[in-house]
Amino acid sequence: MAPLDELKIGGMGASRRRVEDNRFIRGKGNYVDDIVLPAMLHMQILRSPVAHAKIKSIDTSAAWEVPGVRLVLTGETMAARNLAWMPTLSYDTQAVLATDKVRFQGQEVAAVIADDPYIAQDACDKIVVEYEQLPAIVNPIQAQKADAPLIRDDKENQATNKIFDWEIGDKTATDQAFADADVVSKLDLHYPRSHPSPLENCGSIADYDRATGKLTVYMTSQAPHIVRAAVAMVAELPEHMVRIVSPDLGGGFGNKVPIYPGYVVSILASILTERPVKWIESNSENLISTGFGRDVYLEGELALRKDGKILGMRMKTISDHGAFYADAQPTKFKIGLMHSTFACYDIPTAHLVSEGFYTNKAPGGVAYRCSFRVTEAMFFQERMVHAAANDLGMDQAEFRKVNLVGDDMFPYRTAFGFLTDSGQYQKCLDVGLKAIGYDTFKQEQEEARKRGKLLGIGISTMTEPLGAGNSREYDIIGIKMFDSAELRVHMTGKALLRTGAKSQGQGHETTWSQIVAHELGIPADDIVVEEGDTDSAPFGMGTYASRSTPVAGAAVAMVSRKIRAKARKIAAHLLEVSEEDIEWELGRFYVRGNEERGVTIQDCALAAYSNIPDGLEPGLENTAYYDPPNLTWPFAAYLCKVEVDAESGVWDVLNFVAVDDCGVRINPMIVEGQVMGGLTEAYAMANMQYITFDEEGNCIGANYMDYLLPTAWETPGFELHEVVTPCPHHPIGAKGVGECATVAGPAAFVNAVMSAIEHTGVRNVDMPLMPNRVYEALKTGKDVSGMPPVLSD
């Protein structure tokens, strides 16, 4: 019998075309706003026009008069039900509808529920709110001043605007390394606020059924099971009477992890009206009020030996979390996995100090396509490495090679205590250097300069921790970070797979089936994947931080192996031999020494329902919970070549080479899609995604006319390469990949532009590198800061 061809059945390594596309290309996706329930009402939210103010009064009488209005809710009505405040995923509280003060522009103040969204909006416009404005704090430097107004006066024991102090590493050894250094290289920069901006905005439909006591919420969530637990706690509903359904999501990028006030208000509205209530925010509402990313001031220094060896690293971060500390972080780590910085470099000692502050801005710090602050960590790392190589007068590639962790050093314990386990860092860099023509670049650059052209080349290399847990160290509000998969093989050999992850475009419906095909030999087309409904999917922590393949994907492999173990017993029964005499090849068991005598996995499935051996449970289904032994550590080497126009500061990407080692690739087509998408977001952050705040805390750029997202016209092409170092602990050798490009990408673009203009003496231009900033740097030779302006005395 010819063995099954794994690629033909859509197994591992097949660039299988996506199953979910069949509905999306027909316009038959099922996003929250597409769902219509009988007798559904519509909700709109009234938001604060100012960043910091006391609420003197709210008059809703005119709103109630609008025909078609069913309910008007304010902070007062929420407070009467103990719902004016809710807990966040970072052990803070957040106002659902404001009662005492508003603390950022766009904060939720009131809500109207009406027969249609137009009427609800009309009525919102008729609510009169009297504000007494207070001075606004727009950055953490301002927040620290002694006379700064206290933003969170609602909290007991909160005398200042500081949220946390946190540190890690060995201060004494690091101080010694700096004392011993030949050269100390320093860098200060600001990683600006950025908004993840999925094209689909957030929304929910809450449907409370008084007859059964069951609450169903259709909502835009990347982590529906966490929401179920939170809703049960906040709304004091029994958890088995709460069903969260996350249907198709129009992108997430971390923006759909937090729990937003609108969801909670729609739930109360449904309970009060006993009708389904739909809330769909507008794009401006999404941009002004939902999970921002980044906004961290990063300063640090490297202790260097003359020959280029890094002896130690010191770093301080000051982060701006907005008015509520609402980003999801693993509990132990206040500034996420910032301490994964420099993980790809062999550094004896390091020390990190972090401070977090409240400001009068929307809640920030969500992991925007990144694994908890890893984006900031790696951006600082690669900008710092770039500056250090320059300070030493060393070549950028050479300096990295001196310091990269070698292939023979794994498992490698980083200075901050992470355990990296595999990789071929030098090889990845070499592949990239060759592809971009690094050897001849210096000459090219000089010749171009003679012709008045400014060319630059930027390198970014990094490994990042993807796939939290393990559960010993990683949890969100105490819930351990593991994941699960449930597999049911039907009697005809077709199967249903469910996981606790939730795709937002990553293609789980396609790739999870490929893992099952690889493990069981059931063709991928015979497996249907379901996610996002907490009543049917097994518990999982959701999809963000590139954790789906490392954790849920591993659970899929493990549950398949459980199924195979049971099928083996059935096969032994069918073949009338003992289990020890059975061999497995893809899709088939056979008798050792007699390959012709065998049964397929499908034969075993049928027997599980029709011919069960004595003592064996009928059926062929199982569930696996997977707690990863470690994070996965993919590696990326990105190289970018740019040309800067000296007369305008405009820069163009001439060539971009991406070398990714994410271990074994389940579906190469999808991996490449993830890399290209991530690189585009990196380009966007480096080049144009600018959303900031003026002195009064007004959000500048809460629409796509001002907050520029790249289109097909300006987005550069990307040349992709792969290196494969299997993950030693993951059951199929895979590592996370969805975020590598967003994490390592920005520094490649910025280093390239800096390489083109640093002959003027400039050391740093903060992102985004808009033409006016690059122009200013070129003309003055001075650094350009991106810090938001503050009112001067």
Binding site: R17, R18, E20, D21, N22, R23, F24, I25, R26, G27, K28, G29, Y31, D33, D34, V36, P67, G68, Y118, S197, P198, L199, E200, N201, D248, L249, G250, G251, G252, F253, S282, N283, S284, Q504, G505, Q506, G507, M669, I670, E672, G673, M676, G677, G678, L679, T680, E681, N703, Y704, M705, L709, T711, A712, W713, T715, G717, F718
Partner: protein, 177 residues
């Protein structure tokens, strides 16, 4: 057959003006009584249940709501339904027939031109208008034509490939015909 005409909407509240609007949507004439302020995107989604036309930005920037208006791409989130009175509107639901996908749909699947799928209907409608105007576009022409449609997932490279794949297939079909 039903004798219960439950799709008839309730009468509008007193003082709310409405207008009878008839448009041809995907080849079928549709008449609806709408408030003049109702957006075309909302009319398609709510009145006709054509939810493949997505709403993204409300400011004409993202293009998720792109439909063909008398054959030309238009952003239905910033058009009024009444403006479509007497006009032809094509949406993503009109691309495939019962048995066959449109080559643009096939192209998007073959070349992995979508991830979350939210921008896809608008992208495909814009591409359809391009290929009807220019059956053999260059990569730059495709990129320029699509520059009114945002995608946050793919980085566009595969979207461009998808459109070129479709262009090729449509030219082949034309030659066979």
């Amino acid at each position: 057959m039903s004798s219960l005409y439950d799709v008839i909407p309730p009468a509008p509240p007193k003082g709310v003006p409405t207008r009878r609007t008839t448009m041809n949507v995907n080849g079928t004439s549709q008449t609806m009584e709408v408030e003049p302020r109702l957006l075309l995107a909302d009319a398609l989604r709510q009145a006709l249940g054509l939810t493949g036309t997505h709403k993204g930005c409300d400011t004409s920037n993202c293009g998720a709501c792109t439909v063909l208006f008398d054959g030309r791409p238009a952003k239905s989130c910033t058009m009024l339904a009444v403006q479509a009175d007497g006009h032809n509107v094509e949406t993503v639901e009109g691309l495939a027939n019962a048995s066959e996908l449109h080559p643009i749909q096939e192209g998007f699947k073959q070349e992995h031109g979508l991830q979350c799928g939210y921008c896809t209907p608008g992208m495909m409608m814009t591409a359809k208008a391009l290929l009807e105007r220019n059956p053999n576009p260059t990569e730059d022409e495709v990129r320029w034509a699509l520059s009114g449609n945002l995608c946050r997932c793919t980085g566009y490279q595969n979207i461009v490939k998808s459109v070129l794949w479709a262009a090729n297939k449509m030219r082949e079909q034309d030659q066979e015909a």
